[in-house]
């Protein structure tokens, strides 16, 4: 545009240039390294301590094998088809159970956030349910469903759904009223208001609830696989149980590392990235 710049325009530009935060220009490689090295250091420390305990001779090595034996065993395991079959069965249960928990938790959360009667009726019960160790449900689930997939699914959903519902409820409760009023003035009604104002505003707390729900689902699932052993379904839990019965310490610990790794990957890589993305988008990151 060839318009001459008025003094007012110039003032505005000057003030804007002074005010606006500078965009971060650090390289990706550097960012990855900065987040990675403390984790690697922590893992290295754990391995060193583990090795030292083994060297001290506290337990014989067939009970507590040193790290290289366990990791060697893990290396062998991941080349076998049986291992991947077990992981597939476990992940299938985890994802199906978690998906079901998301649907139920979300519906419950929406209902409670909208109805004051429902909130008084079951609001505190959801939190109570969440604090109950899910393993307590298994005897009952086994009575109800027998030693079946249903029993495992029942407890996984019961473990994860309350956390998801609570996340959504607190997300909706804590929306700044100014955003709701702004939405109303802008003409957001009914479904539009939900889609464009309420749900995006509640998203951070909802994702936090999902993350917590995943942790509960994974824990419940592992407990379930140890207790509910189904003959034709060789899961991660079944392999843990068998390793104990065969006194195969290295195999047992290798499977535990797998359990830990799955939990970490889903928590860090999936939810961690979603949360980081939300924080970055909304300027919730604190720079130190």
């Amino acid at each position: 545009m060839a318009e001459p710049i008025s003094p007012l325009d110039q003032d505005i530009r000057g003030v804007d240039a002074l005010d606006i935060p500078r965009r971060d220009r650090r390289s990706l490689a550097l960012a990855v390294w900065r987040s990675l090295w403390p984790k690697l250091a922590a893992v290295a420390l754990v391995l060193v301590i583990w090795e030292l305990v083994v060297l001290s001779g506290w337990k014989p090595t067939y009970v507590l094998p040193p790290p290289y034996v366990v990791f060697g065993r893990l290396g062998e395991l991941i080349t076998t088809a049986d291992f991947w079959k077990a992981v597939a069965i476990t992940m299938q249960r985890a994802l199906f159970g978690f998906a079901l928990a998301i649907s139920l938790g979300t519906i419950l959360g929406l209902a409670v956030s909208q109805s004051s009667i429902l909130r008084r009726a079951v609001g505190s019960m959801i939190t109570g349910l969440q604090s109950m160790p899910s393993i307590v449900w298994f005897p009952f689930a086994i009575l109800l469903f027998g030693l079946t997939e249903g029993a495992i699914l029942f407890v996984v959903v019961l473990g994860a759904a309350p956390a998801i519902a609570n996340g959504l409820i607190s997300g909706i409760d804590n929306i700044p009223p100014i955003l709701l009023r702004a939405g109303q003035v802008l003409g957001a009604r009914g479904l539009n208001s939900w889609r464009h104002v309420v749900l995006p505003a509640a998203l951070p707390a909802y994702v936090a609830g999902l993350k917590q729900g995943w942790a509960f689902a994974w824990r419940s699932l592992m407990a379930g696989e140890l207790l509910v052993i189904i003959a034709s379904r060789p899961s991660i839990g079944v392999r843990l149980q068998f390793a104990r019965e065969l006194s195969d310490s290295a195999g047992l610990m290798a499977m535990m590392i797998v359990v830990l790794a799955v939990g970490l990957i889903v928590d860090g890589a999936v939810f961690g990235n979603i949360e980081r993305w939300i924080r970055r988008n909304r300027g919730l990151e604190v720079s130190r």
Binding site: D9, V15, I20, I178, R181, L186, N192, A201, R282, G283
Partner: protein
Amino acid sequence: MTVSTLSAQDLGASAGESPAAAPAIRVEHLWKTYGNGRSEVLALADFSLDVLPGEFVCLLGASGCGKTTLLNLIAGIYHIDRGSITTDGRGVGMVFQEPALFPWLTVRRNVETSMRFRRLHKHGRRQRVDELLHLVHLYDFGDRRPHELSGGMQQRATLARALAQDAEVLLMDEPFGSLDAMTRGILQDELERIWRATEVTVLFVTHDVSEAVRLGDRVVLLSSRPGRVIEEFPISLPRPRHTDSAEVNEAVHAITERLRDEVRRHG
């Protein structure tokens, strides 16, 4: 309601006194209480006010005068107890005291919001957003998120978002209250320019007397608890006005005196 007795050359007639023009906002015998039981507060009692199309009216008063309540009633956020409010059918736009941009949307998408609700065509939306971003000098920042902007820039984006509603009436609730003096001065100039360019009707709440005199065609002074119109001061000084000019200072002084009387009444 009394009309000011300041000297005629300072004040003169309010803009557009032609009796034929239907008001853009008509508030008639409005009553509003909020809270309940013991904490019930009578915010507005038998409050009436007309704002003409294209007029810039500043509402001025000490705290508790129901300024914000009145805006929320006009915007339809609160329910009316008694009385009536009539505005043009196109609704009202509103700029709040604190920046109320949606933090999950870019500036451009924020400005676009009301047009999405009205299901305007994508191409038309784009063009209008471009226009508005140019108008508030934020064209280069359309793809930024609100948190990447300064407070003054956020308020300009909110102004663009309100103008995108294409409403005849713009309600502003102490929009520059939290900004530094320099930015506030610039934004007052900017708002005046936009108001003249768009011919929108503005009802502007402030507690800053010089801001009211700087911007308003008419300054309406409200009493506190309950809010009523004590006095109106038509300001016919030529624009743009400078807050350090003698005429502006004279009007500011007169209004401040009247405001002080009102505050003392509660002492």
